[in-house]
Symmetry: C2
Subunit: 209 residues, 2 copies
């Protein structure tokens, strides 16, 4: 499971603030995750997520000291943007990015937990659908939901997905899943912390696209 | 129909070569065309087309004299890339871009010709479907075709599409269509010339995505 393991997320400090620089370094390795899904159909998703990362990075680069933590970015923008906020700037980019991160988290967790369609054990549609339902569905209108259903048919077989996560090497499913579990520890903690921060700062929106 | 009319394509010379600089200037105004379709769903298409334009421009910028016409670009790349060609460089970008341009051409032509679903005269699905079938369908696998069918449901009403083409002004359909017809003259000639050039240079591929 080298793809993710090579780029582990760091452990959070006790106050659960997320260091912007480390966060940006770690998430930079996630867009290729969508290549693991194996179809060109996922290119727009990858671009959407890359766009979020670029937006956050460009804010950070303006003043790395001022924006040392993700929370400092969101709080500064709340201050700066008035009523436009939170549908603006890095606050909006991170709002959407965290949903993509949550999607990946739930998908990997579901696989690591061995959840499967007993009739089709080599399909990961149930795992993707679970991740989609919990992380994204409510933010998508009926049309994007319909497109999701179609795109789901392009999902890879579990064995191919595992091979892709393992950078093309044939590894035992159990070995790959052990790495996934290891990866998920700090990753899940980071994603949770961002969600909590959005709730706490009242930065969350629930409009759908 | 100001959106397109403000940025007319130039008349072709007798030898039908397409000037790269003028071409790039004119097509730069086309990605916003997909905003006229009125849904976020079309963002990935707009990015794909913008990406093609950027790719061609970056080749042109390296040596504007050498790449003065589109044909010079394709011929130089044929020379430079060997067996990789034509699935490479600006040759590949223009191969796909021309299909998007053809899509737009057929859609507008069909509207200007008054083709419509008599039972739903304010829908443009028949026009979009015609354009898709002729310009793109064969280059798309079953999955993307399926996604197209879903996305079609997000197509705007004809009246809204005309308003968007007219930059938000309420214009009579007939006035808008007169402008469309005017726009299509040089535009169609340019797209045709690019298709002919691809055939002539054996630069066309028919793989599907
Ligand atoms: C020829 C026929 C072609 C027809 C074309 C049809 C194309 C259909 C395209 C479907 C949508 C692609 C996914 C992108 C969806 C995006 O619309 C949403 C909202 O995107 C956000 O929007 C904000 C404004 O509201 C800002 O612009 C954000 O940008 S900002 O940085 O500027 O602030 C931006 O991320 N992102 C999302 O929903 C996030 C998606 C994460 C996806 C996670 C994985 C799902 C995996 C599924 C696996 C089966
Ligand atoms: C959360 C759920 C989310 C699920 C996500 C689903 C997303 C579905 C995305 C659907 C596809 C979006 C359209 C893009 C399709 C593209 O795949 C193709 C080929 O694209 C080409 O590929 C080449 C390599 O083979 C190079 O990379 C080219 O790039 S290069 O510049 O590098 O050489 C590139 O343009 N372009 C196309 O098919 C062109 C499309 C033109 C479209 C014209 C209008 C159609 C209008 C339809 C109106 C109803």
């Amino acid at each position: 499971m080298s793809l993710l393991m090579d780029n582990q997320f760091g452990e959070l400090p006790v106050d659960k603030t997320v260091d912007t620089k480390f966060f940006l370094e770690s998430v930079a390795y996630l867009p290729p995750f969508f290549d693991c899904l194996g179809s060109k159909v996922f290119v727009p998703i990858k671009s959407d997520i890359s766009g979020n990362i670029t937006k956050i990075r460009s804010v950070y680069d303006k003043d790395p000291a001022k924006y040392a933590t993700l929370q400092q970015i969101v709080e500064s923008e709340k201050e700066a943007y008035g009523t436009e906020w939170p549908k603006v700037g890095a606050t909006l980019a991170l709002m959407w990015l965290k949903r993509g991160l949550r999607f990946i988290q739930i998908l990997l967790q579901s696989l690591a937990d061995g959840e499967k369609d007993e009739n089709n054990p080599n399909l990961i549609r149930v795992n993707i659908t679970k991740a989609y339902d919990q992380a994204l569905k409510k933010y998508h209108g009926w049309l994007v939901q319909k497109i999701f259903k179609a795109a789901l048919l392009a999902a890879p077989y579990k064995s191919d997905f595992i091979k892709a996560l393992s950078k093309g090497q044939e590894v035992r499913e159990e070995d790959c899943m052990a790495s996934v579990r290891q990866f998920l520890i700090n990753y899940t903690a980071t994603v949770d912390a961002i969600y909590e921060m959005y709730t706490m700062l009242n930065a969350e929106l629930d409009y759908s696209v």
